[in-house]
Amino acid sequence: MTTDQIKHLESIALRIRREILNLSQSGGCFTGASLSLADIVTFLYFHYLNLPSPEAPERDLVFLSKGHDVPALYGALVEKGWLAKERLSNHLKTQDVIYWHPNREIPGVEFHSGSLGHLLSVAMGVAYDLKLEKKTNRVICILGDGELNEGSVWEGLLVASALKLERLWIVIDRNQFQANERTEKLIPLEPLEEKFISFGISTVRVSGHSFNDLSRGFLELEAVSGPRCLIADTLRGKGVPSLEDRADRWFCNFTVTEVADMTQELLHGETAKLSSMDLCVR
């Protein structure tokens, strides 16, 4: 990737992170898991995927199975111009569908999610249809690492491999955290790459915060066949050091001042003063 391309993506990712912080007040959101995904959605939506419009038949199809990081997706859809930025002020209000999880009424959301371990199989159904139609759209299914606890994911991988779903691309946001605990402390997942490979899925592992790495990873996967997986190593809370890599900042509801402080931290590195309760929801 060129320096200009990377700078362009970095500026988009920064704006997406600002939107995530804005959504972390007045009811809050899953801030940490959204920040870990910000660079991945930026890369997918503004560099890698073919997304001319939410309804274009030739578009690639993104299924956000770890739906609680939807603030990152909202940010990307706003940047795309598919979702009016003003609608984000309806977050958690009954007159709109801007919830803690994706809703299909939002342009660009291919399918609703929330309950973990569902969208791999839904994405597989879409990939099977594309196979029958001999279409070349890519189907991207974004899973969280905590979500990999769900048996339905592993069941789905077995079937995806058996059915040779060529159009299926799985992306793992490997931010090392379940809701409350480090994955390796609660339900260890490593060696994760080997697990996916042993299930018949071609897999590469890169940094989920390096656009060059993401680009290289997806290029490597283009050279192989069958269902593919990119494990993106990420940091929960990435971009706001006060939130980074902390088990107690899974779901947060911050004050207006704290959001302003965290925005300063994001933009200028000044440490935010955070006194709001650590975990509001478990």
């Binding site: 199989s121 839904v122 879409v126 099977y128 594309l130």
Partner: protein, 242 residues
Amino acid sequence: MKYQEKLLALSQDNSDILVMTAENRAPLREIIPDLGERFIDTGITEQTLVGMAAGLALRGRIPVVHGLASFLTMRAFEFIRTDIGIPHLPVKLVGFIPGLLSEANGPTHQALEDIGLMLQIPGMRVFSPATHEELVSELENIIFDPHPWYIRYTQREHGEAFPFIGKEKIRSWGQANKVMLLTHGTLFTEAYQTQKLLELLGLEVALLHVPYLSPLPEKALLNSIEGSEHLVVIEDHFKGGL
């Protein structure tokens, strides 16, 4: 015509129809070679089966999804509710060996909750035919209906002429009486024989077959039971079915 012959004929007329199963192949076996890639066996994976059906329906396909009634409706219940029910996708779920028909397998295989569970999903249609003939006669309408459906599969035959259900979606035998037997699905013949036996004994008993449990043909049902002092439901299901 058998179920699988009808399903194949419909599939040959409409390429959107896909036949799916979680390795329960018995009532499909003869047509699998003819379906080619439009037959999908996901193995013993009810959750993946249902999730994939949702994805296929999202693309405009009509998945006809087969599984053992107990495993399909219970193992995959949340997938049915969340991925088919909430978006109201036109997936057709077909539960094999419902009720107590699998008694030799023990309690794990019995499906005495399937209808009740499916009735809990808003918009889910439920059809419990008395005979194989009734199942086949209604299949085309159900497959091309835009709603999600749960069908209780049956291989039973009734022996004597069994008139097709009319547009009121219920069928009655005997005169409106003191006692009305209500039934659906696999226990129809037993309910029918019971009604005939009680009639012979001089008791005033009528029988009503209600194969469509959702949406329930309420008006026709209320008209039919009017004047009955006692209603007796005969079904192979726990409380919460008909």
